[in-house]
């Protein structure tokens, strides 16, 4: 099983990276950009085959390590690996 985790800054939390990218894109001549936010994307391969258990486990990983709930939100998607 593969878990795909997105960790993003909570709305309202300053995102200096996103701001800088936005700036740079408009310097490059791209127009009509309303805003850019940057987050992390983490892919985890798991031996667990039970989806509910896997989800609970990844949820726990997010809480314990992958995100800091002070400033970040996370979301989890599960995906069966081909051939597993």
């Amino acid at each position: 099983m593969k878990a795909r985790v997105h960790v993003t800054l909570k709305p309202g939390v300053l995102d200096p990276q996103g701001k800088a990218i936005e700036h740079s894109l408009s310097d490059l001549g791209f127009e009509g950009i309303g805003g850019v936010r940057q987050g992390k994307f983490i892919e985890i391969e798991l031996a667990e085959t039970d989806a509910a258990k896997a989800e609970a486990m990844v949820e726990e990983m997010c809480k314990k390590l992958l995100s800091n709930v002070v400033i970040e939100n996370y979301s989890i998607e599960l995906e069966w690996l081909k051939g597993v």
């Binding site: 800054l9 909570k10 939390v13 300053l14 995102d15 701001k19 800088a20 709930v69």
Partner: protein, 759 residues
């Protein structure tokens, strides 16, 4: 009021009544609320309540500490500006001034270690460059919980990365600090950051607003809902559910800070600025109130002009936001366009948000309506001042070395200390800091004081941060003295003249008389040392309520000292440099083991009673010994010097050997030289933490000369051995009490922290 990550704050237009709950949530007592009503002649609205609450918070008003802080000496002929401005200023000659300050960011760093520490660095940098200085060095003093506490490793890693992440990006070298571990910080770490800047003495900027009608300008980042109520958070005790107050943590943007530094310094090179002030804790509110109060004027602010990052912000939110990387200025009329050009060049926001009035009031408009109107004087001068009751701490008994057991093996005891949590090398920490950027760092981290060259000259600036909290717990008065004396000694040990200090006073809940007692005694002790050493306090910061669920941290008055040397070519450093140098111990060794790291880490003593009284600081001897050592370095006689602190003589010797290059230069010492007549047992001589002592290593001819001078000047100095070989050997009554190879010591010393952090 803060739920589920979203700050939900009632809009003032809802005209909701101020309830007792709201007053309490703002950390105000009923009595304080009554004062507000009296000052306004009516009930405040929610925005005004918020503004009063931050202005009267412990963090902004110093209501518990003021009466004690007033007793500190703040003057000397070289002091240009003492406490009260953004940072303290001293004169170092040649039309140069040093501007410096230390500040805490304890609570945010516990909640979000990386961002908390990073924004702490950002905040203290702004305090310094707002006065016209280019920041030239950063320092930090860090206290973490017990190494085996489940949170400690994560906090160390985040805090160190955060300090580096910010300081490295803005390009200011982080050159020194201190790092220690103690279980009392398990739920409340300390992150104290210090910035030192260099300015032209005739081009210093202050915050007093002046000139009725002059424009008030906002520059830097946009305002968002960041850290609303950070100041009140820093003024409240920690409980488990404080972790739910999370959105009060801000994210730092060092890139913007770097631009802000450059833009401000560029504008400061012109004559356009009348007054300038960073937006620190309590943001727009406290900066405008302070500027207006200092200048004796009023401010009209139009919140609609404030650059905003988010939509739908209320006046309450805009006034209390602690968004980072922002400054407020008053410009000379007509210079707005010139200034705007500079900030636009650096890609920063620039907005005229108000003007100076003669009303003496802070008047805030929002969407055409008055959103707040308060007398400035009441926000500042009516802030409560408390003479909180306090009780003197229990003085622990003096312990006699003869009553304290010797270690089973002296070498093992030494290895345990230098290879343990508190005395092992901090290289893992400082290698994450760019300590060389600006290409003027001449004494890198790892020595007694860090030294940076004053750019373009031969002058050197020495800095050290110190505090020994276990001494402060045993006797806050002696501990306060000792912290000041130790910075003075560290600065002296490199050959610089100590000039002034800043402080960061970290204590528990001041409403408890025993904590207030620690505070009062520590401040009294600091004051005594400052007076005796001609070493005034020019800036500082108080952090109270450092408690978790009712348990306080060790009293931790961290001191940051600054000194100057005429030439960096004549500077002393810790490492042994030559074989066959004579080693001389300066200062008296009485074998004082009370509150020593030996008792704590080798004998495992824990309670204050078991640990006993800390070493007394004889300030006259401290000054005499330091004033003896410094000229030896200045005259070029001594290039190798180290002061004695934690772990006493044996640890200092080991550090000098370990710091020497290429496999290490060892030393042979005969303990018999140290106090042949005194009945001090060997472990007292080796591990005793008597104050006011230095080790120097010099060639034989110079040694003879120095010993003669010491005798003439009545300074205790004794030749205790010589450098040589590749081991530290200590003889005592014909036996080898210690024999450890420098490389074995080095590997123990260097490996503890990296091993701990990677485990």
């Amino acid at each position: 009021m803060i739920m589920d990550g979203v700050t939900q704050i009632p809009d003032k237009t809802a005209k909701n009544e101020i309830t007792p709950e709201m007053v309490a949530e703002h950390g105000l007592t009923t009595e304080e609320y009554e004062r507000i009503v009296a000052a306004l002649g009516r009930a405040p609205n929610i925005t005004e309540l918020g503004i009063y609450s931050v202005m009267w918070s412990e963090h902004c008003s110093y209501k518990s500490s003021k009466v004690h802080l007033k007793t500190l000496p703040t003057e000397a002929p070289w002091v240009i500006c003492g406490p009260g401005e953004n940072a303290g200023i001293i004169d170092i000659g040649d039309n140069q001034a040093i501007i410096f300050k230390m500040e805490s960011h304890n609570h945010p760093s516990y909640i979000e270690p990386y961002q908390g520490a990073a924004t702490g660095v950002g905040g203290i940098l702004r305090d310094v460059f707002t006065m016209g200085a280019r920041p030239i060095a950063n320092m930090n003093a860090l206290r973490f919980g017990a190494p085996d506490h489940p949170k400690t490793k994560h906090l160390v890693s985040g805090v160190v990365a955060g300090i580096g992440g910010y300081g490295n990006c803005v390009g200011v070298p982080t050159v020194g600090g201190e790092t220690s571990f103690d279980a009392s910080y398990n739920g409340n770490i300390l992150v104290n950051a210090m910035t030192v800047g260099l300015a032209d003495k005739d081009n210093i900027f202050y915050s007093a607003a002046a000139g009725i009608g002059n424009p008030v300008i906002y520059v830097g980042s946009k305002t968002g809902r960041d850290g609303i109520h950070g100041a009140t958070m820093a003024s409240a005790e920690f409980t488990e559910d404080s972790e739910a107050k999370r959105p009060t943590v801000q994210v730092g943007d060092p890139f913007t800070e770097k631009l802000l530094i450059e833009a401000c310094l560029e504008l400061m090179a012109s004559d356009a600025i009348i007054a300038i002030q960073d937006m620190g804790a309590a943001g727009l509110t406290s900066s405008s109130v302070e500027m207006a109060s200092k200048g004796g004027v009023g401010f009209d602010l139009d919140l609609d002009k404030v650059p905003q990052r988010e939509e739908g912000m209320t006046p309450y939110e805009m006034c209390l936001s602690e968004s980072q990387e922002r400054m407020l200025m008053v410009l000379k009329p007509g210079r707005e366009d010139f200034a705007k050009g500079i900030f636009e060049k650096w890609g920063l926001d620039f907005a005229i948000i108000g003007k100076i009035t003669d009303t003496g009031r802070l008047t805030i408009t929002w969407r055409g309506e008055i959103a707040g109107d308060m007398p400035i004087a009441s926000l500042v001068d009516d802030a409560p001042v408390y003479e909180r009751p306090f009780v003197a701490g229990v003085k622990q008994a003096l312990l006699k070395a003869g009553d304290i057991p010797a270690p089973d093996d002296y070498g093992d005891a030494l290895m345990k200390l230098i290879g343990g949590a508190n005395l092992s090398s901090r290289r893992w920490v400082w290698e994450q800091y760019d300590h060389m950027v600006m290409a003027d760092t001449v004494a890198r981290p790892g020595g007694d004081a860090a030294v940076v060259r004053i750019h373009g000259s031969e002058k050197g600036l020495a800095m050290s941060t110190d505090c020994t909290p276990r001494y402060c717990l045993a006797d806050a008065h002696e501990g306060g003295k000792q912290a000041v004396a130790e910075t003075w000694r560290n600065i002296t040990a490199v050959g610089a003249k100590p000039l002034a200090i800043t402080d960061c006073l970290n204590f528990g809940n001041p409403e408890k008389p025993e904590i207030m007692g620690q505070f009062a005694e520590a401040v009294a002790g600091m004051g005594e040392a400052c007076r005796a050493l001609d070493y005034p306090v020019v800036s500082g910061n108080v952090s109270l309520y450092n408690e978790t669920n009712g348990t306080a941290i060790l009293p931790t008055p961290a001191i940051g000292g600054v000194g100057v040397m005429a030439s960096i070519r004549r500077m002393a450093t810790v490492p042994f440099k030559r074989y066959g140098d004579v080693i001389i111990l300066i200062g008296e060794s009485k074998g004082h083991l009370g509150a020593s790291i030996y008792l704590q880490e080798v004998l495992g003593r824990k309670t204050p009673e078991e640990l006993g009284a800390p070493p007394p600081v004889d300030l006259a001897a401290e000054r005499r010994n330091g004033d003896f050592v410094r000229p030896l370095i200045e005259e070029g006689l001594v290039d190798t010097c180290h002061d004695l602190s934690d772990g006493g003589l044996i640890v200092a010797l080991a550090e000098m050997a370990m710091a020497s290059k290429a496999g290490g230069i060892g030393a042979e010492i005969d303990a018999g030289f140290i106090s042949p007549s005194l009945a001090v047992p060997l472990h007292g001589i080796l591990f005793g933490e008597d104050q006011g002592r230095y080790l120097i290593a010099v060639t034989e001819e110079i040694a003879a000369d120095i010993l003669r001078r010491a005798e003439a000047e009545n300074v205790p100095a004794v030749q205790i051995g010589a450098t040589g070989g590749d081991a530290l050997v200590i003889r005592h009554e014909g036996t080898e009490a210690v024999k450890l190879s420098v490389s074995d010591m080095t590997s123990a010393h260097e490996s503890w922290l990296p091993t701990y952090m990677s485990g």
